[in-house]
Symmetry: C2
């Protein structure tokens, strides 16, 4: 059963402010929860229709009814369980490899896809501007499928972060007038900046970009909209990795 | 003002069955509607807060109030206008270039992204299995931003379509155990098949694939989920086009 206080806590974790305050976030569904447990994330509590779905201790496992689960779920189609986890600690950025930086990506689905791409392409550090959607937002957690535990995600003032870098580290940014990524010698280490869905890279960050790149367009018409930020990230990370 | 019959018609166009029956579909928002008009799609009628948003004839333009617009909108945040267009005719497939085929892609957002990618990479023909989400679904129309008018989208029995091809046309399919796309000589013409979100390419279609390819994974862990179908399509189309 779910107590009033537990219900209140779970509901509050919809909001970034309370996730930050409590150091907790919520995940739903057998698969996602099991992936987070396997990744050694510290479990706070779990609310499930059936305890046998998880290898957890009875101390923090609460058996609930479907109605109770529905009342605490963030999803329109509730899953068989909801768990609360402690937000893991963030590590320092490792500059030996590629670092991806996001300048105000706002859509949770896009951030989820980008985190999965980092995991796939072995990008260990993802640096997000403070206005980028929170990676512990329930929609992002559902979209990342456990990848969120395998990528070190740092929220910081992106302008300060880029300004404080060693000037020898190249900072790549995608612009319509950039040089074709097919013609570039792309290095194994450096920073790649991706911009906001509507506005691209902001002028303050643009000033800190040292290398302007572009994904060539093949369609005949000039009307084609720019690529979605998640698909552009897929293509660019692939180009950096393919060698 | 919106008549009862017009309201009934617009509501019915939520459903594929009625879109097919009437040969009509709905688009919302100034930008999307103007792009469809510019692309010479035949306009059936337009319901707008202000006629000056569009260069249309008064015959099919209806001025509506915000409340009326809200009552016919498909969106949670209604736009300034809703238009009904005639579904354009489908052309025959041109085998001189690359053809993309979708084996039961179900998510409207994924299909929308894939249509934009076709437009970007100059893929003129997109062949969809009958179970693939309808490209005139309102969510797809909103996601494609006009690209839907620049790609020839054919719905057909994919198994029959692939079986009836000239055997010399290569059929590419993505599988975890395929050959690295980085090592392949990718041709300028051929068919690329992308599979369903949950199940990938179905066994019947797999039999018709002549070349199994894969996107290499760089992350250290083997736990990384497969890539989302839209991001995988982005990477594969980029590989075919980059030469």
């Amino acid at each position: 059963m779910v107590s009033k206080n537990q219900k209140k806590l779970i509901n509050s974790l919809h909001q970034k402010k309370y996730r930050k305050q409590h150091g907790l976030f919520v995940a739903e569904g057998k698969k996602v929860i099991n992936e987070l447990i396997e990744a050694d994330l510290r479990l706070h509590s779990i609310f499930t229709l059936d305890a046998s779905y998880f290898e957890t201790s009875p101390d923090n496992t609460y058996i609930v009814t479907e109605t109770e689960l529905k009342s605490i779920s963030f999803l329109t189609t509730p899953q068989v369980a909801i768990a609360i986890f402690h937000i893991p600690e963030v590590n320092a950025v490792n500059y030996q490899g590629l670092v991806l930086a996001l300048d105000d990506v706002r859509d949770p689905g896009n951030l989820g896809t980008i985190i999965r791409l980092c995991d796939w392409f072995g990008i260990t550090d993802l640096v997000c501007s403070e206005q980028t959607v929170d990676c512990f937002n329930p929609k992002v957690i559902q979209a990342t499928m456990g990848s969120v535990t395998r990528v070190n995600i740092i929220y910081t003032n992106l302008q300060d972060f880029l300004s404080s870098q060693n000037k020898e580290i190249p900072v790549y940014g995608t612009f319509m007038d950039g040089d074709s990524i097919y013609q570039e010698q792309l290095p194994e280490s450096g920073i790649i900046v991706m911009g906001n869905e509507a506005n691209g890279i902001s002028p303050e960050i643009e000033e800190l970009v040292t290398k302007r790149i572009a994904i060539p367009r093949f369609g005949k018409t000039q009307k084609t909209e720019s690529l979605n930020v998640a698909t552009a990230t897929a293509i660019i990370l692939n180009e950096f990795r393919r060698g």
